[in-house]
């Protein structure tokens, strides 16, 4: 068990790893989404 330190607040904890994680997420999201989008464009207009 971890010791409970009631004084800790958000301010003292900088979520650097989280920033890296969500940045990687956005990169993967963009890559995957636009790869489907390109399939859509390649298959042409529907009207």
């Amino acid at each position: 068990m971890t010791s409970d330190n009631g004084d800790e607040t958000q301010g003292e904890f900088k979520p650097r790893g989280t920033v890296a994680f969500v940045a990687a997420f956005v990169a993967v999201l963009m890559l995957m989404w636009f790869s489907i989008y390109i399939i859509l464009l390649s298959r042409g207009a529907t009207i």
Binding site: M1, T2, G6, E8, T9, Q10, F13, P15, R16, G17, T18, A20, F21, V22, F25, V28, L29, M32, W33, I36, Y37, I39, L40, R43, T46
Partner: protein, 569 residues
């Protein structure tokens, strides 16, 4: 801590509370175990290995290819509707009692609701097992099932409403008793989910009571299939959030504690849940992008609203990951990504939920593509879609529920988890199977493979799909092994004689927050403005189209059995 000071005496779950919750879990896990038999059968069928004739003893009536669809219906109903609803109402009961620290206001009400759901399950099971309701779990009219199927579903839904009323009244009483306190996050989250469900299920209630039963009873000559789709999807998408929000509640409010940390932001967790209440329902047309009877403009609006509901999920991603990072750093985690290794991966409950979260990252990405208006043309009704929702309901939700069960069942039975190491393994096995399965399903979906189809029989399957179909089979079989490990662990845990040592008990993990919940703005604990906004937004997003579709009906369709092209045949 601040939250503990003004409390009335702590209320512990009674034996009867625990056994009531236990019955929920019993029916949930049983439904999952039975429904999942069909998963690998379908997956193997895709690869050309047809086990249905060898397993015909499973079916009261065995009708060749119909067995695939009958099994698929059972798989959808038992896994997606019954496992989820029973688990969620049981989990909600536990969270409400434990975090409000008071008994249910009217225990009888919840019991009536629950047993009504059980009766509904039994009533629906009769035609399902008899191949008289093989219409899949979306039961799109004018396909017509035996009337008992619909009556059973009605009882399940109404039963869940009644359990919901029990929770609302309990919360109402608690607020009267504790006027100075903010509703604990977990209680707010799970009750809000029941409220959202109550609103969302109006659609399916209108469909079954207003359109399907009058046709099935012969009171009217037919049904308008387009309107029935609109009603169905009014419920169909929020249904996904009904499954997901209890998992989110656990990720926000329990997992940080289990990992040895705290919730990064109580306020933003609450905000995310209120946004889910507001935005879960008015976006159903994004399931109907390819429907002929809905104007493109309305589809576009619902697409934008779906991007809107993506926002609280993105918020969740950050807050949950930050909470986990906080825990990992306290455990000595180092590095930009290296901290992930410091999480308690040896804990079966934590591992299940972490793996659920990882799979959900891909489920979420696929979901954004589904919701993206015309992009949906690439993947609508292809195997991409079941590939996607196996990452949501069968991963984010189901794996999280595995993780929750690994502490919940010891908590309510007072017995130790059987083989805790196997519990860790079970999630990894399921995770590995899911990665293979869902990747293959997404890939052949992009190549054009239709969903809901025994592809092992389909005459149009090109050679290039075969390798992927094989991976579908392999992944599906591996998932099933992981799932059966879970079922066995839970069953043995519950039925073993061994009890936890005297004085030891497994508590419900309730995470503290890094920010003080009592420092959150008042509007994050007020129902009225959020409920009004929710109803107004639903009326704006659905009202004009519902009026058009209801008053524009010019003809109806007669009902059809899935086995005959002759109406009523």
């Amino acid at each position: 801590m601040v939250t503990e000071t003004t409390r009335t005496p702590v209320y512990e779950l009674t034996k009867s509370d625990k056994s009531f919750i236990g019955w929920h879990i019993f029916f949930a896990v049983t439904a999952l175990a039975v429904g999942s038999i069909f998963g690998p059968l379908q997956a193997l069928q895709h690869a050309g290995i047809d086990l249905y004739p060898d397993l015909n003893f499973l079916f009261i009536e065995f009708n060749g290819v119909n067995a695939y669809y009958q099994g698929l219906t059972l798989h959808g109903v038992l896994n997606a509707l019954i496992w989820t609803t029973f688990f969620i109402t049981g989990f909600t009961t536990l969270v409400v009692i434990r975090t409000l620290k008071r008994p249910l206001a009217i225990p009888l009400l919840n019991r009536v609701g629950f047993w009504m759901m059980v009766v509904g399950l039994v009533v629906a099971a009769v035609p399902l097992l008899g191949d008289n309701a093989s219409v899949l779990y979306t039961f799109y009219p004018p396909l017509e099932a035996d009337v008992l199927f619909y009556l059973g579903l009605v009882l399940v839904v109404v039963g869940s409403w009644i359990e919901g009323y029990g929770f609302y009244i309990t919360l109402y009483r608690w607020r009267k008793e504790n006027p100075a306190e903010k509703t604990p996050f977990l209680a707010l989250a799970v009750i809000l989910n029941m409220v959202m469900w109550q609103i969302a299920t109006i659609g399916i209630a209108a469909e079954i009571l207003g359109l399907i039963l009058p046709m099935t009873f012969g009171w009217v000559g037919g049904i308008d299939p387009q309107l029935s789709r609109t009603f169905f999807w009014f419920t169909g998408h929020p249904l996904v959030y009904f499954w997901l929000l209890p998992a989110y509640a656990s990720w926000y409010g329990m997992l940080p504690k289990q990992a040895g940390g705290k919730l990064f932001s109580d306020s933003l967790a609450r905000l995310a849940f209120w946004l889910f209440l507001l935005l879960s329902v008015p976006l159903g047309f994004h399931h109907q992008f390819v429907d002929p009877g809905v104007p493109a403009g309305w589809k576009f609006i619902h697409s934008l609203l779906t991007f809107g509901v993506g926002f609280p999920s993105l918020l969740t991603l950050f807050t949950v990951v930050a909470s986990l990072e906080y825990a990992a750093r306290r455990r000595g985690g180092k590095g930009l990504f290296g901290w992930i290794r410091a999480l308690p991966w040896g804990d079966g409950s934590v591992t299940a939920q972490l793996l659920a979260g990882i799979l959900f990252i891909f489920g979420g990405i696929g979901g954004v593509a589904n919701a993206s208006y015309n992009v949906n043309l690439v993947l609508h009704n292809t195997t991409w879609v079941p590939g996607h929702f196996h990452l949501t309901v069968a991963s984010a939700v189901t794996l999280s529920f595995f993780g929750i069960s690994y502490w919940l069942v010891p908590h309510i039975t007072g017995k130790p988890l059987w083989r805790p190491k196997l519990a860790v393994v079970s999630s990894w096995v399921y995770f590995a199977g899911m990665l293979i399965f869902s990747n293959a399903m997404h890939t052949i979906g992009l190549l054009g493979a239709p969903r809901r189809t025994p592809l092992g029989l389909a005459p149009y399957v090109p050679d290039e799909w075969n390798g992927h179909l094989f991976r579908v089979a392999v992944g599906g079989a591996i998932m099933w092994i992981g799932l059966m490990m879970f079922v066995v662990i839970i069953a043995v845990t519950a039925w073993q004689r061994k009890r936890l040592p005297e004085g030891e008990h497994i508590d419900v993990p309730v995470a503290e927050s890094l920010d003080d919940p009592n420092n959150a703005p008042a509007w994050l604990d007020r129902w009225k403005p959020w409920l009004i906004a929710t109803v107004v937004l639903i009326i704006l997003a659905y009202g004009p189209q519902l009026i058009d579709q209801i008053f524009g009906i010019e003809s109806t369709s007669p009902g059809f059995s899935p086995q005959s092209p002759v109406p009523g045949g």
